[in-house]
Amino acid sequence: MGDLFTGLRPAAQIDADLAERLPAYTRNEAIVEASNCLYCFDAPCMVACPTSIDIPGFIKLIQTDDRLGSAQRILEQNILGSSCARVCAVEELCEQACVLAPHEGPIKIGRLQRYATDEVYRDPNGFARAGLVSGAPTGRSVAVVGGGPAGLASAAELRIAGHDVTIFDRQPELGGLAMYGIIPLREPSEVAQWEASQVIALGATAKVGCEVGVDVSGEELLEQFDAVFLANGAGRRVSSISLVGAEADGVEDALEFIEEIRVQRPSDVPVGRNVVIVGAGNTAMDAATIAARLGADVVTCVYRRTQGEMTGYPDEYEHCLKDGVRFRWLTQPVRVLTDDTGHVSGLECRVVVLGEPDIDGRPRPTVTDDVVVIDCDHVLLATGQLREPGLYERFGLDVEWDRPKMTGPFHTSDPRVFAGGDAVLSGKELSVVDAVAQGRDAARAIDAYLEDHA
């Protein structure tokens, strides 16, 4: 992409601006914050947590200066407690449920969880120190397809149960979206790497750079393993938005752009001077933040609906505004314009009006004939992921639309094959913490299946 740029800002400045946004609590800060927790009965925060972490319990342990005990409480429910402390939408989950939220403001549960889990983070024996150890060998084996949050959570739980586990992932490193899809402001990649390392320390085997269906077949897995867990996520490429000319230079998937940030020094990632992000979800916000901080002059998110319908979190939207990101609502890109070298030079859009609600309850956008052209040299598509149902067909599974047909919680049409995580979730449940809950609970279902089919 010769017409994108690096060096728009000094590399050290970019590194600093992309470092983890929130500083860690000091011991004193954590104890003071923990002391404000009411230790509610039947605590709403715990109910709101998809992994049901004993939040009052771990906060009480912070307050009483047992940081390891606090980490144990978290990790026994959620092995990706370090990632979730950083990336969970706490303002929509535990902190929203905090009884203090409408009054003096919620307890800072996310930051306290980070304080607690930092006790074991980076420790090569961290999980063991937190009491997570492999169980007595059962002689049974499970293949986990996908090394993201759901896959890792299932692998840890299966190892604790004593089963052999092999994780297959097409990427060079484990972690899935926690590794490749989260911007460093929210979570440094080292966190995801450490969590994956701890699952390996529990005795799981990783086959990375190995795509199931390409490098190894479904039949082979079913022959070699007693059960298979499909945790292959919500797919990769952006869903089609009928954008003419999307193959032009300078047009790329926002997730790929974020992945570049993760796998190389951010200052080495090329960016345009005038960047347009298509979409207004959290991936769009993340990509916009990165583009702005890499030094783009103008960053614009275009979205066919309005702020009221966007799926990005309000906090992320506010962060974008502070970075100078512009938002163009009611704007539908229809065509990529290029210069004579074939590089993107603009985005032809149509003005949208909102009509009756669609099946999701959101107003249906209706494209008008009014044309708007936005000049740009870099387009990042953040309009959702496209699922890959072909994988399920290779396992001989019944498929419903783009997902495996589920015959019970985590059960597919083949009793040996289980599925969970983003592969089966949608909407707001497409999150790290929901994926962890899925992986953990799927592992319990698999364990029960193996028990019944000894």
């Binding site: 009965f41 039947d42 009054h103």
Partner: protein, 462 residues
């Protein structure tokens, strides 16, 4: 604006806020700062023979992240030469003639020694003496301080010696480390004391270092008990002050109240229970001298809000409210009521009622996570007040007085009605066997556990 001037045993003071004998009153430099800030009086740090203090003299008690809820110390009396102290006391009095300057004294238990120190101290022009019979550590091991204060005969004897020569008021500072502080006050009065100061610090070990198993504070690996002070001791001090004020044989004995006072409310409480001045130390060790500004503003506004012209109108105002359990009405009933608009849904009340009392609170609107509200079963509530005490929202749970069902009756009255002659007042012969027929009809059933029912947690038969 109300008049804040007051006096204790004739020692005049422009306001009731005195600095207690301790670290804040150990030098002219400090006392100047204190008086400039507005303190009405100082009890100069105890003067006496030479002492040497250790490093690490204090230990703080933090509760739920709040610093210095309690403070332990092993510091001794003034570490400055007695003549230096006397010179500075004289200077302080000269510079601030309207303030109360009281000198705390402690010397060995010899009549001559007390006579000499009193005569010498009076030359400073000070307004009064406070005899330190309370210091619980260090000095007591040298047969001074609490070693004297724990033996009423010694209190009376030494107070008598002091009164033989003193021409200004003499207060005796009492130790709480005694079974009944009234015995100390009675002895002081018998010795001729013009008033008492109560309380001194309480024997304590504030805590341990769980890494080394040493005490806090640790002096090179060893510790000793110290004297405990600060907000945590206030309830103990209030009780002791009230018991002195309430004792008919001590009626009229002036009291300077001490023990954890930190706010204007604390000062008002000490005064309502009988103190005419209130001494403060730990709060200054936590927040400095300027705290007196908030004490003065708060107390003054409180007096205005109550329509009181003088702070003296508070003194002893609650003493008659202190009664004994046998006089309390057993048939006066209240029930807890939750204001659903202010309930935040924390469930503290539900859990503590379930785990400690009668399990009469539950969610009003089922098990919803957000927007849930607690509700009290008014038939089951016993009016104990635990729920409102744990409720984090001010005035969310109120205790509502109930229409009277049974006429006023206290334990003494019950005993007079149904007690068995020949039994003592304490046992009365009121047995559980006699309860259903003879006692239960007279008293509200919320006040006792019905002996015919078992609380097994099983559902009651329909």
């Amino acid at each position: 604006m109300a008049d804040l001037s007051t006096d204790t045993a004739g020692i005049q003071s422009p306001n009731p806020f005195w600095i207690a004998s301790g670290p804040p009153g150990n030098s002219l430099r400090q006392v100047r700062l204190a008086f400039e800030a507005g303190w009405g009086g100082v009890v100069w740090k105890t003067v006496g023979g030479p002492v040497i203090d250790t490093a690490m003299r204090y230990g703080g008690l933090d509760v739920y992240g709040r610093k210095l809820v309690g403070l332990n110390n092993i510091e001794l009396i003034s570490d400055r030469p007695i003549e230096v102290n006397f010179a500075e006391i004289a200077q302080a009095k000269e510079e601030f003639p309207d303030r109360a300057v009281v000198v705390s004294l402690m010397v060995e238990t010899e009549r001559q020694a007390w006579h000499e120190v009193v005569k010498r101290a009076e030359q400073t022009g000070c307004d009064g003496f406070e005899l330190n019979f309370g210091c619980p550590h260090g000095m007591s091991e040298r047969n001074m301080g609490a070693a004297v204060g724990q033996v009423p005969e010694y209190i009376e004897m030494i107070t008598g010696w002091v009164k033989e020569v003193a021409t200004i008021p003499v207060l005796v500072k009492l130790t709480p480390n005694i079974t009944n502080i009234e015995s100390g006050a009675l002895a002081a009065k018998a010795g001729g004391a013009d008033g008492v100061s109560a309380i001194n610090t309480i024997n304590s070990i504030v805590g341990l270092d769980l890494d080394t198993w040493e005490t806090r504070p640790s002096v090179n690996g060893k510790g000793s008990h110290g004297g405990y002070a600060g907000p945590a001791v206030k309830p103990i001090a209030l009780h002791m002050v009230s018991s002195i004020a309430h004792n008919p044989e001590l009626a009229g004995l002036p009291i300077s109240g001490i023990g954890g006072a930190h706010t204007w409310q604390d000062v008002a409480e000490f005064m309502l229970l009988g103190a005419s001045t209130v001494q403060v130390c730990t709060a200054i060790m936590h927040h400095g001298f300027r705290l007196v500004g908030e004490l003065e503003t708060g107390l003054s506004n409180y007096l205005d809000s109550k329509g009181l012209a003088s702070v003296r109108d508070l003194v002893g105002g609650s003493v008659e409210r202190i009664s004994s359990f046998g006089d309390l009405d057993l048939n006066w009933q209240v029930r807890a009521k939750v204001d659903p608009d202010s309930c935040i849904g924390c469930g503290k009340c539900i859990e503590v009622c379930r785990d400690n009392q009668v399990d009469c609170i539950d969610w009003e609107n089922g098990t919803v996570n957000i927007g849930r509200v607690a509700k009290v079963d008014q038939h089951e509530c016993i009016g104990c007040d635990l729920c409102s005490i744990v409720c984090p929202v001010t005035d969310c749970i109120t205790m509502e007085e109930q229409p009277r069902v049974l006429q006023e009756l206290n334990w003494n009255g019950l005993n007079a009605k149904v007690g068995v002659p020949g039994f003592s007042d304490e046992t009365s012969g009121i047995t559980w066997e006699r309860f259903p027929a003879e006692v239960a009809p007279l008293v509200d059933s919320h006040g006792f556990h019905n002996p015919s029912t078992a609380d097994t947690g099983e559902p009651e038969p329909v």
